[in-house]
Symmetry: C2
Subunit: 432 residues, 2 copies
């Protein structure tokens, strides 16, 4: 049996540096747990001369991918370079060279996970990517091992720290969306170009990965409907609060009657829902299983060391497989084929805010319109606004189908008393 396992790194940014640091700091514990030493043998970097804030032997660095991917004694490749095409090419090459791969690359796994898994299985290699979803939270293992014998029916996630930070600031401090975004950028929680976060794309990638594992169904990124948080107004957070809800960007993945629905959207979440207390840059994934009921996994969604911790748990799993001679034994076969839930079977409650003409009988007319569409109200609030001719009506519906709701929206648009549909959001969870 090997005395030493060699690891090669693709990339040495913040996460890669975290991996080096953890391996150095925990050398003794790793050796104790795994029964062998773990050694980083080569690291692919873009620039050999860059100053780095970790201690690493310069001889280990290379700009030639072959030095890592074709290195004869490297057993495990850790991909922390990011990007899609090149990372994919390198990982496929690693599998062909019978090397196991650990990746933190959610973009890549969301887009090409099944293909990469297939290449891994063909080469009897392991492919792990715990760090690709919710940074330091061991959620993929929780789903694939801890809850493996349950029928998971629903996964709901706050899986993007940037948007959760922005929404928390808006909710707790009454900051505008723009100010909260600036603050998030200042603190390093949001990038200069925040598109991927605020438009929900990052969350969508993670939901695709979660959905695949939770439901054993080939969820693709294009199956995920996405709405981001850009343009969310404080008014809706305030009305929500009044009614017992908190605004969160929620990724939903439902699997009922072998029909799949995955989406990411700003949602008014009941304050009684366990996800509603997840604040600032934290992430959490709520899982509802037929047998286990409600569980939730909470933790940091990003950061160098949390992400590196997840990577090292994967590296450990790969080393255990290697030492036990059982690498490549994960199944990549999905149990169910994919059927998307039609919109007439997608039920939810909705919140809708309308600007209406302030004239007598308007509330009852709108009531009737909803009633005709077979949608009943849980709450309806009418508020005069500053404009003497207008009033605001906020409605929270009972459960209705998305098709019904969309139909009602169309009707409202052409309804003479409705001046504007200000906003509408999905509503989730009972309020007391």
């Amino acid at each position: 049996m090997k005395e030493k396992v060699s690891v090669g790194l693709l990339g040495l940014g913040v996460v890669g540096s975290g991996v080096i640091q953890l391996i150095n700091d925990h050398r003794e514990k790793l050796t104790h747990q795994l029964g062998c030493e773990v050694e980083v043998s080569k690291v692919l970097v873009k620039n050999l001369d860059k100053t780095r804030n970790i201690h690493i032997n310069g001889d280990l660095l290379t700009t030639n991918p072959s030095d890592v991917l074709d290195h004869p004694s490297i057993d495990i490749i850790v991909e922390v370079m990011g990007g899609i095409d090149q990372a994919k090419e390198y990982i496929l090459r690693a599998f062909n060279n019978k090397k196991h791969v650990v990746s933190a690359n959610k973009d890549l796994v969301a887009l090409h996970g099944p293909e990469l898994q297939e290449a891994a299985t063909k080469n009897r290699c392991d492919f792990y990517y715990e760090a690709s979803v919710a940074g330091g939270i061991p959620i993929l293992r929780g789903i694939s091992e801890g809850l493996s014998t349950d029928h998971i029916q629903r996964v709901m996630g706050i899986v993007n720290g940037t948007t959760n930070y922005i929404l928390t600031k808006m909710d707790e401090e009454g900051m505008s969306y723009e100010d909260a975004l600036l603050e998030a950028q200042r603190l390093g929680f949001a990038e200069a170009d925040p598109t991927s976060d605020v438009d929900g794309l990052d969350a969508a990638r993670k939901m695709a990965i979660l959905g695949r594992l939770a439901f054993s169904t080939p969820v693709e990124l294009s199956d995920v409907e996405v709405n981001g948080i850009r343009g969310i107004e404080l008014e809706d957070l305030r009305y929500g609060k009044q009614l017992g809800y908190t605004m969160k960007l929620i990724g939903f993945a439902n699997f009922n009657d072998q029909e799949l629905e995955v989406n990411v959207q700003p949602t008014l979440l009941s304050k009684n829902h366990p996800l509603s207390s997840v604040k600032n840059e934290y992430n959490a994934v709520y899982v509802y299983g037929e047998a286990v009921g409600e569980t939730m996994f909470y933790g940091p969604g990003a950061g160098s060391l949390p992400t590196a911790t997840a990577i090292l748990s994967d590296v450990s799993a790969a080393i255990k497989g290697l030492r036990l001679g059982v690498s490549g034994s994960q199944s990549n076969e999905m149990q169910f084929t994919k059927t998307l839930t039609p919109i007439n079977k997608r039920h939810s409650q909705y919140y809708i805010r309308l600007c209406v003409k302030d004239e007598s009988g308007v509330l009852s007319k709108i009531s009737s319109l909803f009633h005709e569409q077979d949608i009943s109200f849980q709450r309806i609030v009418q508020t005069p606004v500053n404009d003497y001719e207008a009033a605001e009506i906020v409605v929270v519906t009972h459960d209705t189908s998305l098709s019904n709701f969309q139909h009602t929206l169309e009707k409202l648009k052409s309804f003479e008393a409705v001046m504007e549909i200000k906003s509408y959001y999905k509503v989730e969870g009972e309020v007391m």
Copy 2:
């Protein structure tokens, strides 16, 4: 390779029935995941004639332990009978017969876990007990695999649903301890004799198991200091709330400088702490790791199907080991020897409520007394009580050592102006 794995059950109470139900309901999924069928071959029961609310072939039942433990084709024994001595005897016999064991028995694992693990390792058998802590929450796997390469420094758990239910009712509905206990008993969350729950013993067992795994240190049940919730007064919950805290029964396990501290005690927890939103009968375990930072695992702490889900995740792990030929590869070796943290190094904030003589200068005298012990205040509140001669003083200290705090308590007892020390509790987490 085997086409079928046989499982024997010891016990067929609510949890055992749940195991049978899940195996029946998820037959197809299990076969898909494991590549073989899972079959229950024999079940040890006390009474063959008892009416049961699950469908089971009467031929499978037996009152003779040997029919299960010595059954030639049974590979895995699931122990859900409870109790200590007999369960231990049966499990040791199972290991001697080279059978893998899954147990949900927290009492047994807390008391004899290391000895049982040793017997398992000696016989190259697997021993799993995910269900023994926090029912359906896959926390043991989360710690031993997901966070395996981190230095876990602290584990805090709400690991007893009964007491959490009682405290939630007291906190939210102003029920007295006695009424809340009655309500919990009526709903089946508390037993007729609630001692093991309300006195914190059940939580202590789980903390011993968690501590062992989290710190790789041989924590014994006798290392856990325990204070239960009996006699908690609503006044302290109310003062706590006013100051920004919620009362929870918290299991603490700290490991710093290779020194160990494990205890269970009612604690005033900041409302900003993720555990503070865990309500009713739910459980949650908060883990602080040097690298990962804060994570939390939330879910049902008990119940037939959640517990059975955890048992089946263990059965699956054992079957995978069996099929891969790597059973018994878990290590039972602890990395660190055990040293308990001396009380002068155990730091915390404290809450203390005093009944004092209502005379001028008493507040400043008490201040000086704390000051002499080098304890500074975060908050101090004086309230007149109905009795014209008495007032109440509530103090929240800054961090201080337990030795210092105990010394101060002694001083207060002999202090002329102090009529009674009403209560004192550990305080955890910053309030804003």
